[in-house]
Amino acid sequence: MDLIVLVKYVADVDNIPEDAWDTERGTLRRNRLQMVANPLDDRALQLGLAIRDKVAAEARGTTGRLIVLSMGPPQAEEICRRAIAHGADGAVLLSDGAFSGADTIATARTIAGAVRKMVAQGMVQDPLVLAGMQSPDGDTAQVPVQVAALLQFPLIPYVAEWRMEGHVLSFETLQPRGRSELTLQSPPALATVTKYIRDLPFFTSLVRMGVAADAILTKWNRDDLGLQEANVGLAGSYTRVVQIFSPEKRGRAAYRLDFGGEQDPLEALPVVLGALRDFLHTGGESDANTAEDSGATSSGSSSYYKGECAVLCERETSFETGPVSAGSRELLGAARGLAESLGTTTTAIIPGVVLSEELEELARSGAECVVSIQAEFTNAFLPEEQANAVTALVRERNPQILLVPATLTGRVVAPLVAAELGAGLTADCTGLQVADFVGRVGGKETVYGKVLHQTRPALGGNVMATIVSLRGRDNRSPQMATARSGVFTPVMCQDAVATLETFVYQKPSCDDVDTGDENAIDRSRGRVVPSQRDVNAGPVLIQSQPEKTNLDECDVIVSVGLGIGSRENVERLARPLVRALEKAWGVTVGLGCSRAAMEAGYLPYAAQVGQTGRTVKPRVYIALGISGAVQHRVGMENAGRILSINSDDEAPLLSHSDYVIRASCQDAVPVLIKLLDEGA
């Protein structure tokens, strides 16, 4: 077994220089960005080196090789050599002007082509391909999954831990409820790596540096890979970027109240509390997100796509049982809006038997048709099985839109399905709209009527991009998008009914499956099976649920930043405020936090709101000492009303809040609690 580690040359989104934004044009100056190796790819490399060395230590005949593989501009040579300095045995750099503008599927196709060539040339044998689960620039997590799909390599998603017993490699992987363990019975396979894997050391030896400096890299272009021009780069992409714009939204000045300065800000607290309580109890809807919610812009032209709007729903307790997740219901709401503007119907696809109360709930949430997928699924997180079933169903129903929750599962299943179907896929959308798109294909203008405009943050929330999916491989592929929970609004259709259909999925015998992709290779011999070991019983179970209340379900969220001062203050101020709000207002109140507060250990990751945490949409969001960088705001800016309590006048969140109390949390929160206890 040899190892291939995929490394990507990406913008350092944590260190975007001030002058990178062209504020006049609203564009990002890409040449101002610092470029680095994707940090999660560093962890993949560290894992690969550890596996290679462990295999070597087991002294099983020949030592495995570790080759890094990167697609990027010529400058990406730097990160290839860096990987060699850290211990890689060689590097392949895929660089060609024809590769530029590639979306995830065109990128995956190029990388898959290179892996095939590396195998064909004997550079690697039976490779275990490793890659960071996602990169911070696009944050889609799609490329490694689609590479596995195109190569027909078994996928081991979200590796958090590994062990080798005898000659057997096992991987602990994250899944929606804890962890599971997958055993690699035989390579090839592809594994994606999470931040729980140890990072590369920050230094190397001088000897390795010299080796890296003097190494001869393998550089391949499109011709070397034998790929058609139409299959790579922009030409080979199923999606097109319509526009890129700044994420700065309109302020909330219409009803903004700012208390500080001359006047004692604490005196304003009763007024603010009263306004928030009235807003909650009059059912005021969030009115800050109209710009990006689902809907349509008027269009006289006929629809380019045909078919229903479908949502792949998830359940709360297990894959096949339990209530429909809140995120799925939100997507049904979005799909219903889109379907109405397209003059079509909304379908909920859901694994497992649908109980009558579940059918009713799906109908109330906007579904007109419910399709239950019934199959003999392995009781483990093997996403290929689910993806195969969904692919078969989509082939039969031909929806024009397929929405998938951007959960751990959905972010793997959706790219697998998209790769199988040859469909365009946009991850983590924050806005979905139907509008015409005028494309220029071969210099000729083509009008694509009523296509799905998918808006998503990119570059760590520093830019927003609007994307459309054009015809994929076979003219019947749906437009696919994923969205995180909390982004869209669920609908409530009283007394609605939905029809129920059942789709029975027969697992094909191995040889029946073929992608139909012109680049597909012979079915690989790789095999990954669920381990017998019960990982969740062990001490390593990770906390994947918020401590008490699910933030998605909360009417009110109290969220803390570093400004709260200390972990003790979270217990002394924030938690009592949560209890006081629940008692006084009779609503569900959750406790969230900023990334900085999470990293300071104030609250667990599950409570983190923002780009790298949860997207929440409570009716009222109370920010205690949160400065509110854009990465935090994308996670909460669709809240109905935002109250910021902060003594830092420079905090960006203040200008995005409805109510601002310029005071320290230590001063303001006890007053708030007292007012609530007195019945405010």
Partner: protein
């Protein structure tokens, strides 16, 4: 104070008015101490001059009003140099930020000298000649602003005393150095010329190589005429890196008189400096050694630079085993058996554009040298990976400061000795904790300049540490070194063996040396208006 508004300065600047000022105690308060917080002074008024004319007016007014004047830059000193112990006025250089204002004040056309262009950065401006790599800048610009403004030209001003919020003026007054001074030398080497307002209010434009001391005399051309000053006889000349006392030697350049004088002799308003190209690619290495001797022997080789293929490092720093233990938690990669670590950086050129590493042939002599000195392991980084090593460098001072904040503060040395006596000094540092106080030491080993920090637990230990401190200072002087290589002495005092409080500089120069400085200052500042108390306390002579 009201009559001050009508003061007009004769001579230079014609009738330059007084600069903006304030007597608001709140505003004044921020000028009364420095980063050491060891002492605090008082003042009646703060002046904010914007050009040399303003300074001249203030100094002449001070002479008439019999006020003392203490000059203040960014306040990053840790010696009390800017603390106004004598009261009176404060002259803050923070608004000396625009070279075009400076020129206008003198009724010179604001156009830059031939070959120079006017560079504006934020609210600052300076003249730059990118071809000859020279800049003429006002002293209120901070080092970080200067660095950012020069970055687009791929140029840098080499003195880098770590504290980048320091102003250019402060670094001139202390002859600042820092980690890279091993390669670049301290500030002095980089100064081509200065504009100085003397304590009398006269203005001098000095260019290097135009005025030297002859027969123990300087003849200084000012805008008001010629002033002659004699250098004291028998005043010592220092050959190691030094920031303690005045630099006085026959044959010396007049420019050097105004660098590192802690503000005793004049107020510098603009500096004409040399710049260098930003080092393109730098390799940073932290090498761990099993014994101090191995580390010192390795450093000796680099200091002499007599190994083929081994270029002179940009910096050469040391961390002793106690220092490593202090940050081991944050850096578990530190080998457990390391007695010390040497950090060095060197510049290299790329073979090919996108190849970030030096070729194997460039690295081979370094690898051989490290092996010959039995290095346990090395950390090597280039490019953007350097940030973690930067964290390593900053972790120690931060850990030390956190540690002492919860106790009774730290006591840090700043001594340096000639290379041939360095081993004796290191032995003394290594044994310093036998006095019963925890210590760590680290610093600029390339310049034989380590900082030993005492970390006392309580007042009793602090007293022990002070005693040891004096012993070490005496040793440094005996070995022909200095009691302060980069911080300066400012208004620092120390208790001698008999328990008398004496000026710190007296340990090195003796009472005679201090009297010589006092007498020399008098020749330029007959009324002792400017920065009284630095080096020589008021009333000492």
């Amino acid at each position: 104070m009201s009559n001050l508004k009508h003061v007009r300065s004769p001579g230079y600047g014609g009738d330059s008015p007084l600069p903006p000022s304030t007597d608001d105690p709140e505003k004044i308060r921020s000028y009364l101490s420095d980063e050491s917080s060891a002492m605090s002074g008082s003042a009646e008024r703060v002046f904010y001059p914007q050009h040399a004319g303003h300074i001249s007016t203030v100094l002449r007014a001070a002479a008439r009003e019999e006020k003392k004047v203490t000059v203040s830059a960014a306040g990053t000193s840790i010696t009390g140099a800017r603390v106004p112990l004598a009261g009176g006025w404060i002259l803050s250089i923070e608004r000396l930020r625009r070279i075009d204002l400076e020129e206008n004040a003198e009724d010179i056309t604001p156009s830059p000298p031939a070959g120079f262009v006017l560079v504006r950065y934020r609210d600052t401006s300076f003249f730059l000649n990118p071809e000859t790599r020279q800049a003429i800048a006002p002293v209120g610009i901070t080092l970080s602003e200067f660095k950012e403004a020069l970055a687009p030209y791929n140029l840098v001003y080499p003195p880098d005393p770590t504290e980048m919020t320091a102003m250019l003026g402060g670094t001139i007054a202390t002859n600042a150095s820092g980690a890279r001074s091993f390669h670049y030398e301290p500030t002095r080497r980089w100064v081509r010329g200065l504009r100085v307002v003397l304590p009398t209010g006269e203005l001098v434009n000095i260019r290097r190589n135009e005025c030297r001391a002859r027969n123990g005399m300087f003849s200084i051309e000012t805008d008001a005429g010629t002033t002659a000053v004699s250098l004291p006889r028998g005043y010592p000349v220092f050959r190691s890196k030094n920031a303690a006392g005045l630099f006085l030697a026959d044959g010396m350049d007049l420019v050097d008189l105004f660098i590192g004088n802690e503000g005793l002799l004049g107020v510098v308003t603009t500096v004409h400096v040399d710049l260098v190209e930003v080092p393109r690619d730098v390799l940073t290495c932290v090498a761990f050694f099993r014994s101090i001797d191995d580390g010192l022997a390795f450093v000796d080789v680099l200091r002499h630079g007599d190994v083929d293929g081994v270029s002179k490092p940009l910096s050469l720093e040391y961390f002793d085993r106690r220092a490593l233990a202090f940050i081991r938690e944050a850096f578990p990669e530190i080998p457990p058996d390391a007695a010390g670590a040497v950090l060095f950086e060197f510049e290299y050129s790329r073979v090919v554009q996108h190849n970030p590493y030096p070729a194997g042939t460039v690295l081979a002599p370094w690898i051989a040298l490290l092996e010959a000195h039995r290095a346990i392991s090395t950390w090597n980084v280039t490019g953007r990976d350097i940030s973690r090593v930067r964290e390593f460098r900053h972790a120690l001072p931060e850990a030390v400061n956190t540690y002492v904040r919860a106790r009774v503060g730290k006591l840090g040395t700043d001594m340096a000795v000639p290379a041939r006596h360095f081993r004796a000094m290191v032995e003394a540092y290594d044994e310093a904790d036998t006095c019963g106080v925890k210590t760590v030491f680290f610093g600029h080993i390339g310049d034989c300049h380590l900082h030993l920090n005492f970390l006392p637990e309580n007042r009793d230990e602090l007293a022990l540490a002070r005693k040891k401190y004096l012993e070490l200072a005496r040793l440094a002087v005996r070995l022909g070194g200095t009691i302060s290589a980069e911080h300066g002495v400012g208004k620092k005092t120390i208790e001698d063996e008999e328990g008398n409080t004496i000026p710190y500089l007296e340990v090195m120069l003796g009472a005679d040396g201090l009297r010589a400085i006092h007498a020399f200052k008098k020749s330029l500042d007959p009324r002792f208006i400017l920065n009284p108390g630095n080096m020589v306390p008021e009333g000492y002579c």
